[in-house]
Structure formats: C-alpha cells, structure tokens
Symmetry: C2
Amino acid sequence: MKEGKPATIKEIAKRLKISPSTVSRALNDHPSIGLVTTMRVKKVAAELNYEPNQTAIFFKQRKTFTIGVVLPSLSEPFFSAAISEIENVAHEKNYTVIMGQSLDDADREFRILQTLKTHRVDGVLMSIGKNTQDYQFVELLKGAGIPIVFFDCVPDLDNIHTVVSDLETGMLEAIDMFVSCGHHAISLINGPARLPASIERRNAYCKGLEKCNIPFREEYVVNTDLTSEGNESAILQLLALPDRPSAVVSFNDYVALDVMMIVRQRGLTLNQDIHFISYANYPLWKYMENPPMASIEQFPGDQGRKAAELLFELIQTPERTDPVKIVFKSSLINQA
Amino acid sequence: MKEGKPATIKEIAKRLKISPSTVSRALNDHPSIGLVTTMRVKKVAAELNYEPNQTAIFFKQRKTFTIGVVLPSLSEPFFSAAISEIENVAHEKNYTVIMGQSLDDADREFRILQTLKTHRVDGVLMSIGKNTQDYQFVELLKGAGIPIVFFDCVPDLDNIHTVVSDLETGMLEAIDMFVSCGHHAISLINGPARLPASIERRNAYCKGLEKCNIPFREEYVVNTDLTSEGNESAILQLLALPDRPSAVVSFNDYVALDVMMIVRQRGLTLNQDIHFISYANYPLWKYMENPPMASIEQFPGDQGRKAAELLFELIQTPERTDPVKIVFKSSLINQA
DNA sequence: CTGTTAGCGCTTTCAG
DNA sequence: CTGAAAGCGCTAACAG
C-alpha cells in the first residue's frame, strides 16, 4: 500500500487523457474548468492519493507560507508564552513556523537569520539578544524583501516595526501602591546598567518617585548582572544601607526569587520588614508562602500574538513604508 | 542598493560567458572545476550578491534540511526544555526546525502532521497528545518516507522509534527514601487512570512497595484529572482517611504545588506532618520555603537531544528496519 | 576540465 | 472551456 513516488499532476492527466494544465486548474478550483472535469480530476487525484508537491509550489510561487521566529531562548517562560501564541496565529493563517534561538550570541543570531533568508521565509518575528550591537541584518532582510517585526527586545532604530511593552505604566502603579501603603524608602534592583530594559526601568522609577514627591536617592538604585551572585550582592548593598529600603522593585521575577530568599535567610520577614514588586516573567507566585505584593505583568502572549498579526499584515501588504510601533502597557497584578 | 530580483546562476554564467552548470559546480566546489574558474565564479557571485535559491534546491534535491517538531504545548517547561535542546542539535547539523503544538487536540495534531508532510520535512520529532487515539499518521508519514521519532509521550506501537523515560527507577528511589526515613503509609496521587503515564506510575508504585515489604492499600492510590479541583479533591480524599498517609508521591509538580498548598491551608506542616515527592516538570523548588523532600527528574533536555540525534541518524540511514527504543532512567533529586 | 541538454512538479500565459 | 508550451533556478547525466 505504499507508493514509492507520490502521484503527480502529470499522471492524473495521463490517466484522464487530458492536459496537466487542466488538472492543475481543476485542483485549484479554477472557475473556467467544467464542473464535470473538475469532479473527475478530483476523483482520480483522490484515488491516486495525490498530494501537491509543496516544494515545487514554493519554488514556483516564490512564497513558502512559513515565518521565522528568532528569540534569545526557546525555554524561557516569557518567550515560551509568546511562541505559543505566535504558533496559534500562524496556525490560524495556515502558516508554519521555523524557530531559532540565539542564546544571546550575536553570531548565532546572525547565522539563524541567514538561514531564514535562504529558506525564503515570508516574514520574520524577532526579539534580539542582549549582545547584539550590529543591526545590518535589518537591511539584509529588507533587501531580500522579507518583512520583519521586532518584539520585546528591539533594536534602537526608527525605520522598523516593533511591538514592545511600556515598562513605565506598571512601574508607576507599583510605586503608587507602595506609597499608598506608607512606604517612602523605595528602592530599585535594576539589571545591567546599559541594557535598554534597565534604562527604561530606571527612568520610570525616577518618574514614579517624582510623581509621588519622593526625593531620588542614588544609593537606592543598585544593579545586578542577573546572576544569582549578582542578585545577592545587589540586595546586600541595600540591606547594608543605614536606612534600608522597606520596599523594592526588582528587575524581574528571577531577581526577586533570589533576593527574597536572601532576605529570608537574613531573618527578615517578607511583606513586613521588606516588600517586593517585580516585573513578571514567571507565573507561579500563587503557590509561594510569601509572594511579592504584586507583579508588573508584560503579557508576553498578547505581545507575541500582536506581533504575529502585524507581521501577517505586512506580508499581505508588502509596500508599507511607515514603521509601525505598537506599545503594550505593563500593569500591576496583585499576588498577595 | 536593493536588487529587486536576487542574482541567479544564469546571470553569473552570462557575465562570465561560461555555462550555468560550470557556475553551479564551481559554487559547490566540485573537484573537476579549475581553480581559476572557481575563483572567478565566486568573485562574480560575491559581486552580484548571489544567494542560492533554496526553494529551487529543495525542489530539485527532494530534501529540505528541515525537521518538524510536534508537541502538545510549546509553553510547558518540560517541552520548552526539550525544544531548546532539539533546536541546538538541529543548529549543529545545519537543519532548521518547524514547530507545531497540538494542544492535546487530536485533529489539530493531525493537521500539523499533514502540513509537515506537504512541507516535505526530512523527519519528524513528536510527543503525542493526551487524546490521540488514532495512529494512522504513523503509516502516513512512513508512506511518504519521512522518518519519525517519538519521545516522552509515545504511541503504544511496536514498530516505531521511541525515546522515553523509565518512570520506575525514580519511583523506586522515592519509595526507598521514604521508607528509610521511617514512612510506611505511602500514598500515590496519580493522574487520569487510563493514561499510560499513570499506569506506569502505578505499576512502579506497587513494585516499590513490594520491594520494601509494604502491603498495597487501594485507598492510598487516588486519581486527579490534573485540574486544580481534581488535585484538591484527591488530597482531601487522602487526608480524610482514618490513617492518613505520611508520605505522598504525586503525578507531577503542578499536582504537588496544588496539594501542598491545600495541606498548608489545613494547618498541617509540610515535611513534618506529611512529606512529598513528585515527578518533576517544573524547576523552581529551591526558592520555596517548604519544597518537597525530593523530585523525580526526567531530564527533558537530554531526552530531546537524544531523540533529535536519533532522528538525524535515521535521516542519514533511511533503510533502518529495526525500531529503536531508548529509555532514560528517571532519578531522584534532593530538594530540601 | 567544461558545455549541452534535460528535467524536477507545478503554474500560467497564449492559443485555440 | 481546454491544450500546448514555456519556464521558475538549479543540478546532473552525458558528451566532448
């Protein structure tokens, strides 16, 4: 019951003593083909177990119905959530998804993009790695006519399409919440200082303090390289302060997990001696005995979905000139 | 600086007044082409910014250098870990990866497989959904000459290649550990009764008790449908028992999270009144104040890597007849 | 060492 | 409404 070579249009044609072109048209429900022949063709096609050779079609149509997704990591929950929604959108549109992870390695990232280009994907969705400095690939893909939408971690360029989250809104809410709970010694454990994501957080933090008329104190902002050691030394800096903060916003949940553990080990009581809010990238706080007061949610799934939808629009309307910039507001979610 | 149409071999040939085949050969470093012409060809190719049209090559070679990966979910940590390693292996081999998630929907799963087939992927890696009953797709792909390797959740068929974890080894270790800590009232919170994964756990559990000379008690095995409500009712059943168990092995970490929370709410003290070990699918226990005593680890990354490596072997040696069955031992990891 | 020719499977003018 | 023929870009016999 196995057919070595799958049936082709030609064979169907031969069987029916009609021309291949007619078969092709019939199969594609071309209006100018008689109903009867169309039926006969489809019948034989079914009998022969015909399956169109997509590689031939891709080749002919210069379209692959495939999009590429390039992310720093495929296993990080934030990106997993995004991926999952991206796949859903693609599935709805009858597209397939090729994935690659850069692991924050700029060379690997570049190689993946190259591969996607040679595979002639119809579009690319991308979140750049932390070490990516060189954005020449943008021109590369543009030259190849492949639309690209950046999301979450995006290059600092004007003429590109981006979907990002506004880290400010959530930060303002967080500081408001702290203040309304009576805190005024509010600190920020930030990521690596030059990271755009860190700069945004810092700016938002300053703005939040200002809105609440709390003076900014440089020693209340500490940085971590996001390793456990870095997180530890960051929180220790704060704890060593003569007037240590009673409230802390942290770069993300991983940082929060680490620093909250240290705080506990030091004999302080969470949500009493010291309070935390963090940017969310990890979902299971509800099971913790002492979760942070709240999390700043960035909705990775929604971002991924939106980015994918935008990409499909661009694929359908290739000649869009104006860069689209979509911003998702981050917002506070209670945990406690 | 944009070239509407990318350069083709023909144009290079024309420029150099040689034949396309020579160009093709030169570009592929065919040994029978003179070094000088090879150089000249490559130079012009570079000038013209030539890029081979992969879709044409795929079409011609009947090979796509692409593998398909079909999983129940792209966002579950267990699968994310596997995906990440699969992508690594593929990247090493210069392959690309197409991903699809079935969301445990058998129809969607089937459609994805169809798509992969029409996309002419060179091989498929798959973990089947919970509701998949019909394995006809196995024959479908076999008929198309596409090798397939199943991992983690695999169909109950003989003539297929599989990579799975042996749930027994970890269970035996778990029960040993409980017993050596003085427990004899050891319970199992299992998943849906008919799920192969549940049956295996149950069998392993029975075997473990037997090895330790502990009589099996039917009421110590309860089932959950893996929803929070199901988990809750499962643990409540156990707690309501006249001699409630002091030790529990749970189906997976999500179940453990839920039931441990309930236990706490009921005023019991974890790791004192009642002890837990669960099959791991979630990594962050170290941050919990009261983690389970231990976890039974299944090494999703290793499994994914192994499955991918096996698939690439099969792609290179298409005429393998004997089904390969690889088993990973699960094993206990201390958490406390 | 290089050129000629044919063809992968499909779509698509252009003629009837 | 249908057929003939050309061609997408590349590779690979088969000749020289």
